[in-house]
């Protein structure tokens, strides 16, 4: 594939038939991606709004739920994603400057970091499974419906105790008579936790797929100064997924953490 790609117009092999010039194609494509991200903001926004409403309504339960998820892992994931956004931005730069090898390595790095993120999430999900903090069948009904809540078969009462146990970063100020009620309400927290992080993880998986596809194309030298639109679009998408996490992390992990001396 030729390395000298000029900014010529109609005959560039990547020019789609509906566009008149590479410039138009690039502008339309990036605009389209921004519009798409806007729709994603509306979708996550609806979810966040519902979350915020219930956070106001069931504050102690949400604090209890929040303390039970690991802020260290969450923070680690935040760093991982920020790093991956950096490598992604570098990928775009590399493409703009025709550096084929750099593109490939940087894309790979981004994917590795993305996979690391998902790996950490998997561990966090497993921890929730282990502690029986799975909404619906476990917390709501107080029994283990799926036949395998790892260590202990927890009841609602067990979870109610955990919520008040300072050793488990619980809040001893929650009145004992209230604990079961609050334990039930944590189910709503965990529902949102899994819905929000799940939707986000789903987008990350799709993102990894996109990056893999871009990797293959970058390897074959398709992208350079004349044409790097797909990388740019991939970058936009990836940054968006990163930003959603930047919102998720404080919303989910950092509620009143200081109150319990963590």
């Amino acid at each position: 594939m030729s390395t000298s790609q000029t900014t010529t117009t109609d005959h560039h092999p990547a020019l789609a038939h509906q566009f008149d010039s590479m410039e138009q194609q690039q502008e339309a494509s990036t605009f389209g991606m921004w519009v798409f991200l806007l729709t994603e903001i509306m979708m996550f926004g609806g979810l966040f709004t519902a979350y915020l409403i219930y956070r106001l309504k069931y504050y102690p339960a949400f604090v209890a739920g929040s303390t039970s998820i690991s802020v260290s892992w969450g923070f680690a994931n935040t760093l991982v994603l920020i790093a991956s956004s950096f490598t992604m931005a570098m990928t775009v730069w590399a493409a703009q400057n025709g550096k084929r090898k750099a593109q490939v390595w940087l894309l790979l790095a981004t994917m590795v970091l993305g996979a690391a993120f998902l790996g950490v999430k998997a561990k966090e999900y497993y921890d929730k499974w282990d502690e029986c903090h799975i909404p619906g069948h476990v917390i709501g009904k107080g029994f283990n419906a799926w036949g395998g809540c790892s260590a202990t078969n927890k009841s609602l009462g067990n979870i109610a105790e955990e919520i008040r146990d300072p050793e488990k970063h619980g809040n001893p100020n929650i009145p004992e008579v209230d604990a079961e009620q609050t334990a039930k309400r944590t189910e709503i927290f965990f529902s949102f936790y899994f819905a929000m992080t799940g939707l986000h993880a789903f987008h990350m998986v799709i993102g990894l797929g996109l990056l893999a596809w871009l990797l293959i194309r970058a390897k074959s030298g398709e992208f350079g100064p004349a044409y790097y639109t797909p990388i740019e679009l991939g970058g936009l998408y990836w940054h968006f997924v990163d930003i959603v996490w930047i919102f998720l992390f404080p919303l989910l992990y950092l509620i009143s953490r200081h109150q319990h001396g963590v």
């Binding site: 915020l52 956070r55 106001l56 309504k57 069931y58 504050y59 102690p60 604090v63 100020n173 929650i174 009145p175 008579v177 209230d178 009620q181 509620i255 009143s256 109150q259």
Partner: protein
């Protein structure tokens, strides 16, 4: 098939005439503008029909006309808005001293309880000339209490009291419909409102098999569930004395002031530590799953009738903190606050909570 069919419901309440007046005004406006547009387009279609030799006149527009036909509809709309808002405002503000009736909607029937203890299913007897306030709750899904002859409708929600009110003006039997789709027998959840003259109504009240007034049923439940263990007038009681509490402002442990209305009492029974009275501890267990909606209604009625024995019945333990007028919430604020659950920060030694200013969500 019934051949003489009405197209207008009877006016059987004090508000019905006002609603109908607005309706008629709107019918006139609609008829006028619809006819205007219809006649204009038909007239133009005929008068300016395609004929050889005549060209259409190219007119760009007229800003003046645009302003006129924006401002005039806007003006008419504002008239309609204000008119509708005024009627609505009256409908949302129950008058003082109404006859209070409680309703419970469930799939697929209506249950009503009168203060005298009379219970009805799918029928509601009311007198003319008296303001009637119906406080309702659902046991399952959302229903809606609709009496077309009164022009009254209110969605009936689970877990939250709502109310509507009317003053019946004309004896008769009128349809009661459920008007929020609620499943299989939604259209079977109908009944009748029987409006009687005050004498007939009094006779009806007296005739039924009275198990005692609603309040006395509530008193029985109050004792049966052991409420008197803690809620007593003496100073050693672990719970606030409830005499005279209904409708009064109450200061809570986190310094908020709430009104002790139906929703507050219901919440205190089902989620007792959501709002704890200042000076008391969070030790009341929940009665959710123990007490039925009907019993909650009866207990509330009982509490309403407890007359105050001393000046500050509730604050007989803590230093009586004066509640300023500005602190007393109105109903709107109260309903908003119902949906927030602040943590009960009281520790056994009465220490100040760690974050007295409240969390910043």
């Amino acid at each position: 098939m019934q051949l003489n069919f009405p197209i207008f419901p009877e006016q059987a309440s004090s508000m019905a005439g006002q609603v109908d007046a607005l309706y008629l005004f709107l019918v006139l406006i609609t008829t006028f503008f619809s006819l205007l547009i219809a006649i204009l387009i038909l007239f133009f279609a005929i008068k300016y029909r395609r004929t050889p030799g005549r060209q259409a006149e190219q007119i760009h527009g007229s800003t003046l006309l645009e302003i006129v036909w924006t401002v005039i509809p806007l003006g008419i709309s504002m008239v309609i808005f204000v008119w509708g808002a005024v009627i609505y405002y009256h409908m949302e503000r129950p008058p003082a001293n109404p006859l209070e009736i409680y309703g419970v909607g469930k799939q697929w029937m209506w249950k009503f309880q009168h203060p005298g203890g009379q219970r009805e299913i799918n029928t509601l007897h009311v007198p003319t000339g008296r303001d009637v306030k119906v406080t309702m709750i659902s046991q399952d899904v959302i229903h809606s209490f609709f009496v077309p002859a009164f022009r009254v409708k209110q969605d009936v929600l689970p877990n939250r009291y709502v109310f509507t009110w009317f003053r019946a003006t004309q004896p008769g039997t009128y349809h009661l419909f459920c008007s929020q789709y609620c499943g299989t027998k939604h259209s079977g959840m109908v009944g009748q409102v029987v409006v009687m003259t005050p004498e007939d109504y009094a006779n009806w009240l007296a005739s039924g098999k009275a198990e005692g007034s609603l309040a006395s049923l509530g008193e029985k439940a109050f004792q049966q569930y052991g409420c008197t263990t803690c809620h007593r007038p003496d100073s050693g009681a672990r719970g606030p004395n409830l005499e005279g509490v209904y409708g009064r402002p109450i200061r809570l442990t986190d310094n908020r002031v709430v009104l002790a209305d139906d929703n507050y009492i219901r919440e205190s029974i089902l989620e007792p530590n959501a709002k704890v009275v200042s000076g008391f501890q969070s030790i009341m267990p929940t009665f959710r799953g123990v007490v039925s909606e009907d019993e909650i209604i009866a207990i509330t009625e009982y509490i309403k009738h407890l007359s105050p024995q001393q000046a500050n019945p509730l604050n007989n333990r803590s230093t009586p903190t004066e509640i300023r007028d500005s602190e007393v919430p109105n109903i709107q604020q109260q309903n908003k606050q119902q949906n927030q659950q602040q943590p009960a920060q009281q520790t056994p030694q009465g220490k100040r909570p760690a974050n007295p200013s409240g969390k910043k969500p």
